[in-house]
């Protein structure tokens, strides 16, 4: 969990302005650092912004197809981060995170189709796509958490509710809401792309600007969540995950907190859903199926439940891999994923990224130790 070998200790740098810059660099990142996240040193952030820089120039070196596909991976990363908060940090085993994604997507679709003429219509649709899943899940959360439902039973109820959405949406082949045809199993198509034309500036999202928007949101969500989990709320989330009753005995209203977390996670899942539907112009009820519902759970499990970074990386790589396997035209991609999955659970129970982190820490500690006396056990 903990890895606080800050790289700040070195002093005597001859270039003062440079060391000053480095200090500012560390200072800026300090608010995102803490024992609840992976990557709390200068090297990590240097790599992080390095990758970010590569991603910034990425659209200039690839074609539209690759760019579009990458945009969708970023959206999946946001979804994975939302489950990482709800399940990984707060311990609420939510089988319905994909349902929040689907709800957000459907809400955006319906509103955007109806308000397609209106200036700022899609922005309003985005807001509704975020708020609706939050409200629905707040209601479900209230129902569950105030009724003392917990653990496995939360998983079962969220799964059952997800499947009910699936069942009901499949039946909407003739249902219209305003101009929007829900379309039953065939799904809803013709959903307009997000248009950021509010007051100050206005542009239609091209694949490139869409890529930048989603990239910016992904980075913002990641940093925002890092900030959150290393703050007051972060400790409380972990406290709830580890021992609900204990935490309650300290005076925390865990019913309220869990409902709030559940709902906030849903808002984030909804945001991802909105972005996805804006990206694809299409959504269908398979989003609420058993297989889809388990996808975010796979990402978070493989990447590491207690880490935002791990969940995000796993989402990206697993979606990428299944995409490529899909293009190779084999029926074996599910078998591959299933085996990967079991191996991770057996050999890296806390996830691949934390396991790699531990290796790295062990390696760098021994290296330091052999050089000088180790500073501070961490």
């Amino acid at each position: 969990m903990d890895e606080s070998e800050h790289a700040t200790e070195e002093s005597s740098n001859p270039h003062h302005w440079f060391s000053h810059l480095l200090d500012r660099f560390d200072e800026f990142h300090a608010r995102f650092e803490g024992p609840n996240t992976i990557g709390n040193n200068r090297t990590f952030w240097a790599v992080f912004w390095g990758i970010f820089a590569i991603l910034l120039v990425y659209p200039m070196i690839v074609n539209t197809f690759v760019l579009k596909t990458n945009t969708s991976f970023f959206i999946w990363v946001i979804l994975a981060l939302s489950l990482s908060i709800v399940w990984g940090y707060s311990g609420i085993f939510n089988f319905g995170q994909m349902a929040t994604f689907g709800l957000g997507g459907y809400a955006y679709g319906v509103v955007a189709i109806n308000l397609t003429e209106m200036i700022g219509g899609t922005v309003l649709a985005l807001l509704i796509g975020v708020v609706l899943p939050a409200v629905v899940m707040a209601a479900l959360g209230y129902f569950m958490f105030y009724g003392q439902v917990s653990g496995l039973y939360v998983a079962i109820i969220t799964l059952v509710v997800t499947l009910m959405f699936n069942l009901l949406l499949t039946r909407t082949s003739g249902t219209t809401i305003g101009d929007a045809q829900l379309g039953g199993l065939n799904g809803m198509s013709g959903i307009p792309t997000l248009e950021l034309d509010v007051v100050a500036f206005s542009f239609d999202l091209t694949p490139v600007s869409e890529y930048y928007l989603v990239l910016a949101l992904m980075i913002a969500v990641y940093l925002g969540l890092r900030y959150t989990v290393n703050s007051y709320y972060g400790y409380v989330m972990i406290a709830i995950r580890e021992d609900e009753r204990r935490t309650q005995m300290f005076g925390y209203d865990i019913r309220k907190l869990k409902t709030a977390l559940f709902s906030a996670g849903a808002a984030l899942g909804g945001l991802a859903g909105v972005l996805y539907v804006s990206w694809s112009g299409f959504i269908d009820p398979t989003m609420f199926g058993l297989v889809s519902a388990s996808l975010p759970i796979i990402w978070v499990t493989v990447g590491g439940r207690g880490t935002l970074l791990g969940s995000g990386i796993a989402a990206y790589l697993l979606q990428y891999t299944s995409n490529e396997l899909g293009a190779m035209g084999t029926g074996y991609s599910f078998i591959f994923l299933g085996i990967l999955f079991i191996l991770v659970i057996l050999f890296f129970p806390s996830g691949i990224v934390p396991a790699l982190r531990d290796r790295w820490v062990a390696w760098s500690t021994t290296r330091k130790q052999s050089g000088s006396v180790q500073e501070g056990n961490s």
């Binding site: 969990m1 024992p35 400790y235 580890e242 005995m249 300290f250 209203d253 961490s378």
Partner: protein, 254 residues
């Protein structure tokens, strides 16, 4: 630490901080707590003893709101709290230490202390308060360690500090010395005694009669879900009936 108001009711007054009447808890066919009437005056340190299965732990859990009673009423500071939620009771000053060690294993020592204290102390005084608590349990130099690196005794003390973090007026301790060495037990006794200075009322479930003798004013004996006897330590130790119910029974665990 928060200064306690109403210093005029010093320790050992007769005003009950906590009382229960007709308190009953059934689990299916089993009656764990049976029609208990109980008074705990403000400022007292009370030990609750009794043989295995006497209902002591259940009784404590009823007081914290962990279990809802089948029947009966609980008053705290004159208010009926029978149906109030555990976190409400915690906020009104009832703090509970589980028998089972329940520090947060994924957090550091300092973060463990932060969880309870940050609800009750203003942001600018928080760090100071945490320092005080760390000092109290002598864990200052281990503040940024993961809890998993602590010994069992240290974790127990940390947890006592955590229960102190909520600024309790009533502290419920469920077997705080369970699994401790003799030295550790002594240190724990010292810690609990210090609480008197903090003007905290304490109810302890405990087996170790030496431990009880060292800290307690009054002892309540439970048996078969009911209050069997009540009195000073000396009275209880010499009580014929109490001897009888302990006879042939294990004095371990509840």
């Amino acid at each position: 630490m928060r200064s306690k108001q109403g210093t005029n009711d010093g320790p050992k007054t007769n005003e009950a901080l906590l009382s229960a009447s007709g308190l009953t808890k059934r689990f299916g066919g089993l009656t764990a707590v049976n029609d208990v009437d109980f008074r705990l005056p403000k400022g007292q340190i009370r030990c609750l003893i009794g043989p295995n299965g006497a209902g002591k732990s259940t009784f404590l859990k009823l007081l914290t709101g962990f279990h809802t009673p089948t029947d009966g009423t609980i008053y705290y500071k004159g208010e009926d709290i029978t149906s109030s939620h555990p976190h409400i009771r915690a906020k009104s000053g009832i703090s509970f230490k589980f028998q089972k060690l329940s520090t947060y294993q994924d957090l550091t020592v300092e973060q463990n202390l932060r969880i309870p204290t940050q609800l009750y102390t203003d942001g600018d005084q928080l760090d100071e308060h945490i320092d005080e608590l760390l000092e109290l349990v002598e864990l200052t130099d281990k503040r940024s360690m993961p809890v998993t690196n602590l010994s069992h005794g240290e974790q127990q003390w940390l947890e006592i500090a955590m229960t102190m973090g909520v600024e309790p007026e009533l502290l419920l301790l469920d077997e705080p010395t369970a699994g401790m060495t003799i030295d550790e037990t002594e240190k724990t006794a010292g810690l609990v005694r210090d609480l008197i200075d903090e003007d905290v009322t304490v109810l302890i479930v405990e087996h170790d009669i030496n431990f009880v003798r060292g800290i307690s004013d009054m002892v309540t004996v439970m048996h078969n879900g009911q209050i069997f006897a009540e009195g000073s330590v000396e009275e209880i130790v010499t009580h014929e009936g109490v001897k009888k119910i302990y006879l042939g029974k294990s004095v371990e665990g509840d």
